[in-house]
């Protein structure tokens, strides 16, 4: 069920420092420090405190480190930062897939090329799912079938992924035989 043979899924490689960059920014949706492979030189590291922190932040431990209360706050700050960046920045992102492609979209909007952004999936495999019928984005979906928060349809989570929406596609599973909804399986923990 988790491999539907659909070829629009991104494949991610481990993060490595790109020596052609002049400045390096690592953003993470988690609280872990940057991977050592990025750290042989100056690196800014942005991270997000866990939900258990309830809005409190631990102070930075080293230069270039910055901590955010949420991924939303990090992304908003990233957009402002990239608006004033110059050529030579390399951006590295680590986190769940929706976070990665939100970051990628922000980077593209601000003129970074595809070769200047590096993504690595980490943390939850839960998916953002766009209902193809009513266009509602359902966040944090961990099951093969989810009830759409917008229109109430029981959506099958297709492996078809849009980088622009950072979302998978959800299609009404019982459209042909209304009520014929198979049991949901936990597939994306």
């Amino acid at each position: 069920m988790t491999d539907q043979g659909i070829k629009s899924r991104p494949i991610y490689a481990a993060l490595r420092r790109d020596p052609s960059g002049r400045r390096h920014l690592y953003v993470s949706a988690g609280a872990e420090p940057p991977p050592p492979a990025l750290c042989d030189g100056p690196l800014e590291g942005w991270s997000v405190g866990p939900p258990t922190a309830e809005g409190t932040r631990t102070p930075p431990e080293r230069e270039g480190e910055r901590r955010f209360r949420s991924a939303s706050q990090l992304k908003a700050t990233l957009a402002r930062r990239l608006a004033t960046e110059r050529m030579g920045l390399r951006l590295y992102a680590e986190g769940p897939e929706d976070f990665l492609w939100d970051v990628f979209g922000i980077a593209q909007e601000h003129g970074l090329g595809r070769q200047e952004v590096f993504l690595k999936q980490a943390g939850t495999l839960a998916r953002r799912v766009q209902c193809v019928h009513c266009k509602t984005l359902n966040e944090g979906v961990s099951t093969t079938i989810v009830r759409c928060a917008g229109c109430g349809a029981n959506l099958f989570v297709r492996d078809h992924f849009s980088r622009r929406l950072s979302a998978f596609q959800g299609v009404k599973v019982d459209a042909e035989q209304p009520g014929d909804v198979p049991p949901a399986e936990r597939a994306y923990p």
């Binding site: 078809h160 299609v171 459209a175 042909e176 035989q177």
Partner: protein, 360 residues
């Protein structure tokens, strides 16, 4: 050639859709052999060939007026069916120019285009449109140029931008689609938007097709046929509205199969555009009921053979699972197994009355 347009056709709810005998015989039947599998079946889009639908750059037939009205209904309900990313404005004008020039040259009794420098005058007689505008100035048209002209054309269109040795679907007018969402797919690369298609990736079809299309030359368009099946003469089989049309697939019975089930063929054409270097992809949809297919002996027998041997992945992907057996039970007794000529041409120039073929 003066086309008699069937203005009262309806492609939804209380369906009303008829093909004339000439309309049946010009149907671009997609099966040249008794078995079907994906291939890079791309050929030059030259005039002529085995089917009259290939005789013009963009084919217009008796359903033109009704299909344009259906498109307007879909757009009124869901404006997101037409979207073009902001960097594609040159490709929008390229599209408008190509369609207007092709229509005016191929169907002069129905369309005219007069140019006076950048001031153009466009007349579309079947739809009763007269428009003077300045080429390159969107504010002189009632809507953006790509939407303006594709509202006046049959079939869907997408715009592919070429960069990074790839094609990106960065715009489209998609209201008569076989179950894919422009709103979801817009911005995707070639392999991404074809992601859900089974089997073809593994046999390298998309790698070869992309390599071929990246080299597509201005003035040398190409075409291919694709197909699926649709219950009722419904043009808008979008994923957006799947909750509305999905139940149709459970309504096929031995009694209504020949009227309900339609072969849906896409005449896909690809044109390199001159200013933008983008590619315009036309997806012209034709629907023909099983009842009308049966009137062509070769097509009736060949469809039986193709559906009998279709790989299960394709049966599933094309959504035929619930009614294929009913179709085959209907077709199999009408196929004597005799060898058929290769190619898609009907091998007959007249049709038996449809009432006769309905009995047997």
């Amino acid at each position: 050639m003066n086309i008699q347009f069937r203005k009262d056709e309806r492609f939804r709810e209380s369906f009303s859709y008829v093909n004339s005998d000439a309309g049946v015989l010009r149907f671009p039947f997609p099966f040249g052999e008794d078995r079907y599998m994906y291939s890079v079946n791309i050929e030059p889009h030259t005039r002529g060939g085995p089917n009259p639908a290939f005789a013009h750059a963009f084919d217009i037939d008796e359903h033109y007026v009704a299909e344009c009205r259906e498109r307007a209904l879909v757009l009124a309900d869901d404006p997101g069916r037409c979207q073009v990313l902001p960097h594609m404005m040159p490709a929008q004008w390229d599209t408008l120019e190509l369609l207007m020039e092709s229509f005016a040259a191929d169907y002069p009794e129905h369309f005219s285009l007069e140019k006076n420098g950048d001031t153009w005058r466009w007349i579309n007689r079947p739809l009763g449109i007269e428009q003077t505008f300045v080429f390159g100035r969107p504010e002189t048209l009632p809507c953006p140029p790509f939407e303006y002209i594709t509202r006046q054309a049959q079939g869907d269109f997408t715009l592919q931008d070429q960069r990074d040795d790839n094609l990106f679907v960065d715009g489209g007018m998609v209201t008569t689609q076989a179950d894919w969402s422009l709103d979801f797919d817009i911005g995707m690369s070639f392999h991404e938007w074809h992601g859900p298609v089974p089997l073809a990736h593994d046999i390298g079809v998309f790698d070869r097709a992309l390599r071929f299309l990246l080299r597509l030359q201005y003035g040398h368009p190409v075409r291919r046929l694709n197909w699926t099946m649709t219950i009722n003469p419904r043009l808008d089989t979008s994923p957006e509205n799947y909750p509305d049309w999905g139940p149709d697939r459970t309504t096929v019975t031995p009694d209504n199969v020949s009227e309900k089930v339609h072969l849906r063929v896409e005449l896909q054409t690809l044109f390199r555009l001159p200013r933008s270097n983008a590619i315009l992809f036309g997806i012209r949809c034709y629907l023909l009921s099983l009842k009308d297919i049966e009137r062509v002996e070769k097509w009736r027998k060949r469809l039986n053979r193709v559906l009998t041997t279709l790989p299960p992945e394709l049966v599933e992907y094309k959504g035929l699972t619930r009614y294929r057996d009913t179709v085959l039970a209907h077709l199999a007794p009408r196929d004597d197994g005799a060898p058929l000529s290769s190619g898609i041409q009907p091998d007959q120039t007249t049709l038996p009355p449809s009432a006769l073929s309905n009995q047997r």
